[in-house]
């Protein structure tokens, strides 16, 4: 008995004072078990011309912890980007993804490296999900050499070749026909992967989307159109811009599914289901019901077209990170201290990456002229300060 009490005391100290249940080991209460675990998704799916998948999803403790960690890193990264923008390290446009992390994290849980993703400009976290690093993201945002696009793209144009992430596109809706093309290549080359062509509720009214859907349905392409419906196209609410804001039905002959986009597990289930469907039958539309806490971009306060109560309400009730936190705590896969440790680690990771990115230099002058065509042509450039600088390209 005394020994047990001594172990418990030791456990308390090692765990930063948190209570450790007698059954678990005192060294780490954090469960890294990959034993299958079934959970119920609270918000049911809604199907259009397809039977929705079951709302029981298979996951594991390790996966949930991973969700938490990844989403927390993403959240910290976006908030750091916010302050970088305000201190003018980032110039131009910066569209933040905080609030919507569950969509890309849930997607990645159901995909592998044979799949491709193409999205619009709110792409920092999608890039991370596809294998990018926080350093690459920060450096790209600040226009430095170590950025994923060599500093030439900026916030809106992040790409990852190995991860099959085709960006990062500025003109909304224009990426959807590209997605159809990617899917065609996958089908033709028998890659056994799907393409997720992502777009927002604003872009859902672009003609090119319907052209792409028609083509992909006609040719049974393995493309999944993911509508990240954060309910506001810049400042316009969905009911003001769309006659039918039920974006999962807009495919008409293309079956669709409406998913609670703030729930990682629901997103994972939906994407898994859609991937199986798509590889056999052709395109599908997934509408992710999600929300962004920031405005459209850094020049939008985000509160002129929606109330602060609405924003804080969503943050309290539907925040994706809090949801996973509650799951982890209620199932005792992790203690409060464990989660704090993970958060601390994540903050450190983000800060380190930020410091390193700030040291990265700007791209060299020849980069202005390189990669316009595959083979560069010799060019002469006059510098901004009256000194002639001739740029010789290979």
């Amino acid at each position: 008995m005394a020994l047990r009490q001594a172990w418990q005391k030791a456990g308390k100290v090692l765990n930063g004072g948190a209570l450790v249940s007698p059954g678990s080991t005192f060294a780490r209460a954090l469960s890294t078990s990959s034993d299958p675990l079934t959970l119920e998704i609270p918000v049911p799916f809604k199907g259009h011309k397809v039977d929705p998948p079951s709302s029981t999803v298979e996951t594991s403790a390790a996966e949930l912890v991973d969700f938490f960690r990844t989403m927390f890193v993403m959240r910290r990264m976006e908030i750091a980007a916010d302050s970088l923008y305000k201190s003018k390290f980032i110039r131009g446009f910066c569209h933040l993804y905080d609030g919507q992390e569950a969509v890309c994290v849930g997607m990645e849980a159901a995909l592998n490296d044979k799949d491709c993703i193409i999205t619009a400009y709110r792409d920092h976290c999608t890039h991370l999900g596809r294998g990018g690093t926080v350093l690459e993201v920060f450096a790209e945002l600040m226009g430095r050499k170590d950025g994923c696009s060599l500093g030439k793209g900026g916030s809106m144009h992040m790409y990852n070749k190995k991860g099959g992430f085709y960006g990062g596109n500025g003109i909304v809706g224009a990426q959807t026909p590209l997605g159809a093309g990617l899917a065609f290549a996958q089908k033709y080359l028998k890659v056994d992967g799907v393409t997720l062509a992502m777009y927002g509720d604003g872009a859902a009214n672009q003609g090119q989307l319907f052209e792409a859907m028609n083509i992909s349905a006609l040719w049974d392409l393995p493309v999944i159109y993911v509508c990240e419906n954060n309910h506001y196209g810049m400042g316009t609410a969905e009911w003001r811009s769309a006659k039918s804001p039920e974006y999962y039905k807009r495919g008409d002959y293309v079956p669709g599914l409406k998913v609670d986009g703030m729930d990682c597990l629901a997103v994972k289930q939906a994407v898994k289901f859609a991937k199986e469907y798509s590889l056999k039958n052709g395109p599908m539309v997934l509408e992710m019901d999600t929300y962004r806490y920031h405005g459209h971009s850094m020049s939008d306060p985000g509160s002129t077209y929606r109330t602060r109560d609405e924003i804080s309400g969503v943050r309290q009730e539907r925040d994706p990170i809090e949801r996973i936190r509650k799951l982890l705590l209620s199932h005792e896969f992790a203690s409060v201290a464990d989660l704090k440790a993970i958060e601390k680690e994540a903050k450190k990771e983000v800060e380190d990456a930020l410091a390193k990115a700030k040291e990265s230099p700007s791209p060299d002058a020849p980069e202005l002229f390189s990669h316009i065509y595959r083979k560069s042509y010799g060019a002469e450039a006059y510098g901004a300060d009256r000194k002639e600088s001739t740029v010789k390209l290979p």
């Binding site: 131009g92 500025g170 003609g207 002229f369």
Partner: protein
Amino acid sequence: MVRRRFSFGLVSRLSSPIYGRSPCSGGIWTPCLGQKRSFMTAKDLVESEEPEKKVTNRINMFSAINQALHTVLDSDPKSYVFGEDVGFGGVFRCTTALRDKFGRHRVFNTPLCEQAIVGFGIGLASMGNRAIAEIQFADYIFPALDQIVNEAAKYRYRSGNLFNCGGLTVRAPYGAVGHGGHYHSQSPEAFFCHVPGIKVVIPRSPSQAKGLLLASIRDPNPVVFFEPKWLYRLAVEEVPVDDYTLPLSSAEVMRKGSDITLVGWGAQLAIMEEACDEVSKLGISCELIDLRTLIPWDKELVEDSVNKTGRLLVSHEAPVTGGFGAEIAASITNSCFLRLQAPVSRVCGLDTPFPLVFEPFYMPTKNKELQTLGL
């Protein structure tokens, strides 16, 4: 000779039917009183510039444009302003207070669909209305390029003057803004200058913007009106409060000179003015011309100027290859060949996509102008 600087009528100087010179072209146009500008030299134009004393307000460009839109919606009950986010005032505040004053049926938001916005505007205009479509950034105008080129520009021609969409005006903010990057800084005017049937108009200042916009809206031809976004807040000047138009297809000599002619439009003129000021200290006298309307452009005025000076420099933000400067250069070389003392030079943007971090290298800065002027 009595010449009013600001005319209420419009002079159509080309005789082809594409520009609707006939008075029976829908009644939105008042024929002007026999002013033949082609025999005027630039000198005459500038000397007769003595505007009557007008009541003015010191405002910036977006306010001037806002005033012009208020005037149009006031004076013509069949005019409409629409585009993405115009209801609350637009992302650049050009359409502030219009919806409150004129109602949701005349000032309304559209969904995110440029091709449909312009197509819808063409349809509206072909029934005799003034459709003023706003494209949020000129970079987004490309989905609508088909509508402008194939539907708007050719409507009068292919219907044998039975129908036309002259009431269409497409407004778009264009040009660099310092941090716009690839998709918020482009200058696509050259794409539209290649299309007979439309007019392309670019103002350089608030007072010009108001007058040219009023003229463009009332012109019986479809007009693409590019507004230099850098100047929306930055350019402030005295703008007459009343309703006035400035003539289209009429360039303006901003300063007289005798050694070299400089031609530009939009925000680039401010840069060129600085360059002119610097070289004037060295005794070089520059004649600076604001083209104002890119097509159909005031060839005569530029030719007269080059015939006087013997040298020409054209400057624009768009990439140099295939930019509108190329057309001016070719045309002037053709007509003033024997008078030219040096080849026509162009100081323009580089042949790259509009860069993000490299913007200061890309832009045709004052130093590049000076370098080309030979200093």
